[in-house]
């Protein structure tokens, strides 16, 4: 079932990972892993092949765009962007991102982006 599929939450903000996780948990999703930077995310992606990665753009050590460049063609990735990052979202699409959500999140926007990938 779509809601048992593994979702990787990648954001340097533990607070924002918590917000995302709460939204998705309330919607019935049960399987999560978390990463606080792009380097951690890549390790988890390679080891666990998550069905979906929610990926922040700006993070220390390695940002979301660098992760996208490495695995964007083989992994379902939805970018997590801030207001005003229109150029980034365009570039992300060209690198294979399946969509984007804007912080702070509208619950409906998050679920729409996730469902579009996981097929609910």
């Amino acid at each position: 079932m779509a809601k048992d599929q593994l979702i990787l939450l990648t954001d340097d903000s533990a607070f924002m990972r918590g917000v995302l996780k709460n939204i998705l948990t309330e919607a019935g999703h049960t399987q999560f892993l978390e990463a606080s930077n792009g380097k951690e995310a890549l390790e988890i992606i390679k080891a666990n092949s998550p069905a979906l990665v929610l990926l922040d753009v700006i993070m220390p050590e390695m940002g979301g765009m660098d992760v996208l460049k490495e695995v964007g063609s083989t992994t379902n990735i939805v970018m997590v962007t801030a207001v005003g990052q229109d150029t980034t979202t365009e570039e992300a699409k060209s690198l294979g991102a399946k969509g984007y959500i804007v912080k702070p999140f509208e619950k409906a926007q998050v679920l729409e982006a996730v469902n579009a990938v996981l097929g609910e």
Binding site: S13, F15, I58, P60, A82, D86, K103, E106
Partner: protein
């Protein structure tokens, strides 16, 4: 050289709207946001304002990484920070005594939200785009060091101070956001506007 006051005021109004919308999504209570004061300020003024915040101030810092050079500093008193944490978590006032890592994460994200809201609005007034880097908590000692670095630069008005009043669940919070821009970039912005 000062940033155009009319454009700054437009940016402040638009920024407040974004802040209100953003915090409305994050908090469980009704939020209103107003910029009580927006001004271009000189190095001397910013140093004096930093000093007033005191040793116990909570400070978050983020570098601007694209579009504009400079950095954003978000300052609130420790008492206001603890109140803010309680309000955002929908807890009784006074619940938070010591900040945990998750609380610091929320404060840093608040810097992100505030800075983005106002920077995007300012950038739009000057037809530019801006991105802010990952935020860090800094100590008041580091903040004084930043102020000291600023004092070594030629005197110019290349900072913007936004004093913002947030009302969450009828509680007032006063937050200061300093946006410090490189003066040469400011000249470029003025020429292009």
């Amino acid at each position: 050289m000062q940033m155009d006051k009319t454009k700054l005021q437009h940016a402040a109004t638009e920024g407040s709207r974004r802040v209100q919308e953003a915090f409305g999504k994050l908090s469980k209570t009704k939020v209103t946001a107003n910029v009580t004061e927006i001004q271009s300020i000189s190095d001397d003024t910013i140093i004096e304002k930093f000093k007033k915040h005191g040793e116990q101030a909570v400070v978050a810092f983020a570098q601007l990484i694209s579009g504009m050079e400079g950095f954003a500093l978000f300052v609130m008193s420790r008492e206001q920070a603890l109140l803010f944490i309680d309000l955002m978590n929908d807890q009784p006032v006074g619940s938070t005594g010591i900040m945990k890592d998750l609380d610091r994460s929320m404060i840093k994200e608040t810097l992100n939200i505030l800075s983005n809201a106002y920077l995007v609005s300012i950038a739009k007034e000057f037809q530019s785009e801006v991105m802010i880097g990952p935020p860090l908590m800094v100590t008041s000692t580091r903040m004084k060091s930043i102020a000291s670095d600023l004092s070594n630069k030629p005197t110019a008005e290349h900072s913007v101070l936004l004093d913002t009043s947030l009302v969450l669940n009828e509680q007032h919070l006063d937050l200061s956001l300093y946006l410090v821009f490189d003066p040469s970039l400011l000249e470029t912005l003025q020429q292009e506007s």
